[in-house]
Amino acid sequence: MTRLSGGLIDRSRSLNFTFDGRKLTGHPGDTLASALLANDVRLMGRSFKYHRPRGLIAAGSEEPNALVELRGGARQEPNTRATVAELFDGLDARSQNRIGSLRFDLLAVNDLFSPFFAAGFYYKTFMWPKAFWEKLYEPAIRRAAGLGSLSMQADPDAYDKGFLHCDLLVIGGGAAGLAAAQAAARSGARVILADEDFRLGGRLMAETHLLDDAPATGWVSGVEEELASLPNLRIMRRTTVFGAFDHGIYGAVERVADHLPEPGDKPRQTLWRITAKRAVLAAGAVERHIPFANNDRPGIMLAGAMRAFANRWAVSPAARVAIFTNNDDGHRTAIDLAAKGVDIAGVIDSRDNVTAMGSYPVFAGGVVSDAKGRLGLTQVEVTQNGRSQWIDCGALGVSGGWNPNLHLASHHRGRPVWDEALQSFVPAKDGPPGLIVAGAANGQGSTAAALRSGAEAAVQALGELDITATLPDLPQAEDVVSKPHALWHVPGRGRAWVDFQNDVTVKDIKLAHQENMRPVEHLKRWTTLGMATDQGKTANVTALAIMSELTGKPIPETGTTIFRPPYSGVSLSVLGGGNTAEHFRPRRLTPTHHWAEAQGAVFVEVGPWMRAQYFPRPGETHWRQTVDREVLATREGVGICDVTTLGKVDVQGADAGEFLNRLYCNGMKTLKTGMVRYGLMLREDGIAWDDGTCARLAEDHYVVTTTTAQAGPVYRHMEFARQCLWPEMDVQLISTTDAWAQVSVAGPNARRLLERIMDEGVDISNEAFPFMACKSLTICGGLRARLFRISFSGELAYEVAVPTRYGNALMQRLIETGADLGATPYGTEALGALRIEKGHAAGNELNGQTSPQMLGMDRMVSTKKDSIGAVMSRREGLAADTRRLVGLQPVDSAQPVLAGMHLFTEGAAQNTETDQGWITSACYSPHVGSAIGLGFLARGDERMGEVITGANPLDQQQVALRVVSPHFVDPDGGRLRD
């Protein structure tokens, strides 16, 4: 088929593209769909279930049939509607969902067996033999199902996210949207005009109506030019507003580079979050088809789409076409196509007594009752006054009236209401607050009504914001409203499609009715109606009407359906916004990170942090070698570890002591200035939540630490207590986690090392600075620092804090200065081993399920004061829990101990009832010379010395374990105090 005259394509340039390997050409301005039609391609896809040959139905994003795979390699993109794929040079498109070629799809055999595949058939069969479902039936069904395919490679393109704010968001750039944008922009309000198309104008580009006696494209260009000149208005083409969320927030996707061969340095798409004080939805309408037997033949399409292809893209799907309509709109298609020289075989109008509006045959009171042409329409059967005849045509335009495109208006679950006069659903009044629907989307479909209602909506919306806008002078336009005759389907014996993609026919709806699947949601779910990629835009209302015929109830009583976001498919890549791979979450680096990197440290993810896990040295071939060395170096000399990631909260004020007294289950008010105390925080439900240290630097100044994992939540909780529970207290909080670098210096040589960096006159002897002392002081010649004598490892140990920017230097200084003392950096692995050897609880023990009793800390929960969680920690169920923290050591030192083993009395049956506990943490202990573990064991405190079984059924392991004190190292704590 050669091109028709006119159209909005640039004939001066040709674009090469391929479809299923065939080399074809089109022009700038074409979509893949229009270019395919211009190359006489009518067959573009296969349906989901029966693999019926299919062509275009529509010209817009609602297209259910012509879904193709676009591009190749890692950019392969399944299920792209040919109608929205903008043609570019080199575009490569392939049909999908077929085995073999598009013309000879082997799966078309399904169509022969279609009687067996009626609605709901899956639910009634494939039950025996039982094992066959997963092994045979389901894999076969899965292979046949699905549409396009993924490349299985990571998307190579870049994506972006952005935020926009405006007074008015206008969704849709057709007659109503342009009028709204013009009225709003002239008021000075901040306006965004978004349209999914690459060209503004909407339906105006598809029609031949005159505006002020001139082609509409002139008016569109004029408005476009004016809008482009206004700084307060932003035009967003190729931008689909896909969802209406709370408080005027709209999600939109801008296809920045989908019309280019490759995005180059641009993102392929951008996800916009638009916060709009008001919005006008001017999304137009979607035409309805009328089901009749074999109405899915390639070449049968919506009459409005046929007109759009002819007027905007200068193509006709065939040289000779027919029209089937129940309203005046179908005649427009005939007039427009005839004007372009297309042979009109006739207009079949279901209304009696209609006459032609041009020179073409009219079949008044007639219907199309069947169609021929498996791979492309050849003939339609016209039934008129009980007589049928076949007429030749290569395409049929069908017009059953228009459904307002109210998708976004129902995103807040407001149900559309039936308008009897329009014979369609219109948006409900309880749509998203701030959203006004205008134009055809609101049932005001004539050009004049659309222009007027768009402008009025903008004026009204801005008026609500106290911005005065006035109605612009709108052009004179046609104002004909065509009321469709209620013809929802053509009765007959053949299969008549309602939902094209999912192959739901009128018979399926009848069957659903027969089987009492009558509520609209049952109908949808039983038949899969409306579940296809167009979300039922082209099917739902028709199906409802047919169900209403069957039940004898009016349409509104039969039910309505709503739409859910997104308006049309949104790529997962753009929703992820490029925050993928290593950019999935930000990395927090410790102050000594670069130093550790230079030492060749291996890092590990700890929440948002990257921490040094261990520091391998040349010759070490296994991580355990390294960790054992680091542990022993600490126990024998001095080890140094960056512990900056612990949360730090500065607590100041006259009531700071009382405040902390109420937060921690143990007392903090009595803590002496210059001293540190271990603190256990409970949740209000009495479960141990977080532990740390609490240092009193001055009468009214405490510094508390939290675990790395709970730094954020604990601070939040402290602010809650301060602002909401005890607002009258004089206390201020600030998180200083990022302000201070903190380094642990542990081991028998710790003091000797630290003495070397203390400034003159600072005495840290055991007498002057005993265990659990703290002090603000200066080191390294005037650097302010805080020193805490606390130990996680059980050794003589300190933590030194300096302003963060000195952390790296401090680490370097300590290692250099302490070389002769055996100063050794250690990572989180050794840190873990050291604390397990000492029996300190950490994250694995404090997992949110542990009571103070289980930790042996119930006596810490003061009964003399009220504190968070104290009351609930004494509940019957917690008190009755006998599990206690114990140490576990294999009887045979060669045996493994694994965290996650369950504990049993030796020789007992092993099941849920006999389960006595589990191992929380385990490691190899260089100190003990075997693997060791910590665990919670029923009556653990009474079972010291007993040999029990550690079971790991996952690996069929059974290990004899001796119950011991959790303090494998220095149980009396002598080393801490030396």
Binding site: I249, P433, E684, P727, D866, A870
Partner: protein, 96 residues
Amino acid sequence: MLIPHPLLGLRDAQEFTYLGDARLIDRPDGMAEGAEAAFAEYVYLRDNPAGVHRELWFHEQGDRSWLIVTRDTVTHEILGAELARNVALAANGGEA
């Protein structure tokens, strides 16, 4: 969602962390008679209304204020927001 912060104006709800029912500011006295029953109710039971709900939000990525937001749980409409501290002070008989 957008939350009308009484000091900072409209802020995206993503800046906030949600806690729940504003009754959580009315913590019982742990030293009183019958405290266990009072706490069981305080910690666990909720009105959970379908409609107007007063609830606590923390401006975690902002000024670290705890707010009491009044919001309709059916429509998500926000009817107001106050500083929780002021509400708590008023409830405790102090000055807001």
